[in-house]
Symmetry: C2
Subunit: 357 residues, 2 copies
Amino acid sequence: MSKVHNFSAGPCILPQEVLKQASEAVINFNNLNLSLLEISHRSKDFIEVMENARNLVRELLNVPDNYEVLFLQGGASLGFLTAAYNFMKIDGSAAYLNTGTWANKALKEAKLLGGVLEVASSKDKNYNYIPKNYQIPGNADYLHITTNNTIFGTQLKKTPISRIPIIADMSSDIFSKKINVSDYDLIYAGAQKNMGPAGTTLYIVKKSALGKTGRTIPSMLDLEVHISKDSMFNTPPVYPIYVSMLTLQWLKNNGGVEWIEGINQQKADLLYNEIDNNPLFKGTAEVDSRSNMNATFVLTNDDLKDEFDSMWQAANISGIKGHRDVGGYRASMYNALPLESVQALVDVMKELAKKHS
Amino acid sequence: MSKVHNFSAGPCILPQEVLKQASEAVINFNNLNLSLLEISHRSKDFIEVMENARNLVRELLNVPDNYEVLFLQGGASLGFLTAAYNFMKIDGSAAYLNTGTWANKALKEAKLLGGVLEVASSKDKNYNYIPKNYQIPGNADYLHITTNNTIFGTQLKKTPISRIPIIADMSSDIFSKKINVSDYDLIYAGAQKNMGPAGTTLYIVKKSALGKTGRTIPSMLDLEVHISKDSMFNTPPVYPIYVSMLTLQWLKNNGGVEWIEGINQQKADLLYNEIDNNPLFKGTAEVDSRSNMNATFVLTNDDLKDEFDSMWQAANISGIKGHRDVGGYRASMYNALPLESVQALVDVMKELAKKHS
Ligand SMILES: Cc1ncc(COP(=O)(O)O)c(C=O)c1O
Ligand SMILES: Cc1ncc(COP(=O)(O)O)c(C=O)c1O
Ligand SMILES: [Mg+2]
Ligand SMILES: [Mg+2]
Ligand SMILES: [Mg+2]
Ligand SMILES: [Mg+2]
């Protein structure tokens, strides 16, 4: 059986060579004759993994020296709370751009700590576009954005122009394209899309922006605590961090973010062209808000559903069922998904059209 | 090179057969032709892992039906905060038994939410004993205990008699011996000792005890939220949960907690007998407070340090350097450590004594 074309929305496809090395490390890590799972996180071998992972993030994203890089636990969902705790002042407020389910959940956690203003929302059209031309209150402590909306297949094409600090949940598009880290005071992202397996969360934070809220922050939510312990305040999620390190190494070895951005553009162009030109399909997101990571689309004729579903399954394609909030299909094209997988999907779409032309 | 005798304090030794299966799943899980790391956590294959893991906990510990079992993220360190959030009432208070570093850290997080009373402390003797005969305030919301003190090598031999609910951090002795779950309103434990690799935290909670604090709890810290989503409120740490499931399966297949409790007693007896009878060594914990998981001991003559250190290293023993807060040596004898590894250590200790008799 040949390799599955894995369009899963996350956790998702990882490079084969990463998986091979990751599998070996479970038996014998660094020729220690011990599994990576059974060594101390304070051992020099694991500290090296952690430092490597942090440095790869720095290199790949050109992280400025005044930013810190952390690998923590809790997923982006704990990030929603951590972001607000570290940046919303006592008696302060925050501004949120509501572009979907995850943006909403981020906003909900922030409300526990202070006033939250929704600067704009695309809820009116089931989040199929990124709002434009909204006002950002100059007195809020930060603006929170979700750069890629995994469920709805929309993506911010540029960073908002803002006089207040920007915090970005980049869970589903980090490392997929170049970013300018200094546009943000805080970036956070669950690993399980472009970076690695589920179980660790990346934080990139401007150090000088911390410690200004007047709050006592619980230790595990306090980014300054984690920084002071080099991302090892408590036992880190060893294996997810290791596999993330391997994936970042893979990205670097192949040409880095610039290289993958080009490939991701090719994949997205290939699929969106087919969606647009094929009369049996249409996209659900507005064209100028379309995500290069998650393409959402529907059949123009629902009667073809069973036929299409058996065709892509026969072609060894997996994971393209749409999220229940949108329906239809969602093809997630994260970094490790090869162009040939997108081609396989496009071939099936063409085949369906041919049969019904 | 033969297998290392791995006395690491955590993350720590896991069963060889678990590691073998865990390694295979990284390449091809359940014959899906996909890695476990790259499938959706909402897939039927992973939901089965999660349910299996939760059910194994129920079986192995005889968890009563009115308790819920969760596999979350954040380590026991986030558990310190989660425990307080879910059990300390607004304007309430809590009682903490201070038996060491981890107990202290738990207490510190609880202080952010309300009044905390330290019911007793063994700090006066660098935590080398478990306090007895202390008063538990009848009006506190709960008593918090740390059943095994990983750093200091002490262990509670019985659950305190308490009129108020008990919350227990069992990170370093869960699954090592029989417990009576209904003695506790909440048990939590980081996986990385007897249960699996780092990256997931087990919670066993009496459902009817929740929702009584009057607090609005942040979603990721709210045990009722996690229960309502069957431990999948957000993306779970897939791989750590899977390896924990395999380890619990291994325990069950071999005879369960009763079986391992006997073996753990043999291992502890073997080592403590040697510590007591060998004139070159002495234990640091008081005899009636000694841990069956972590045995802490020192040389009676420090001049022998280099000699002893090279002898155990030559015997392929690893991980027995003591924690900096105690010094000397710490031999952690978690479930997966075979009796023969303890014998190997005892042989080296005997050998040293012979040379110097
Ligand atoms: C954009 C975005 N933010 C946040 C999350 C939540 O992440 P986690 O499940 O790691 O908490 C997701 C999950 O898919 C996501 O896509
Ligand atoms: C008894 C005990 N409690 C809590 C912790 C902290 O656990 P974590 O590192 O998972 O946060 C440890 C870590 O070794 C421990 O031994
Ligand atoms: Mg979304
Ligand atoms: Mg079309
Ligand atoms: Mg301790
Ligand atoms: Mg002695």
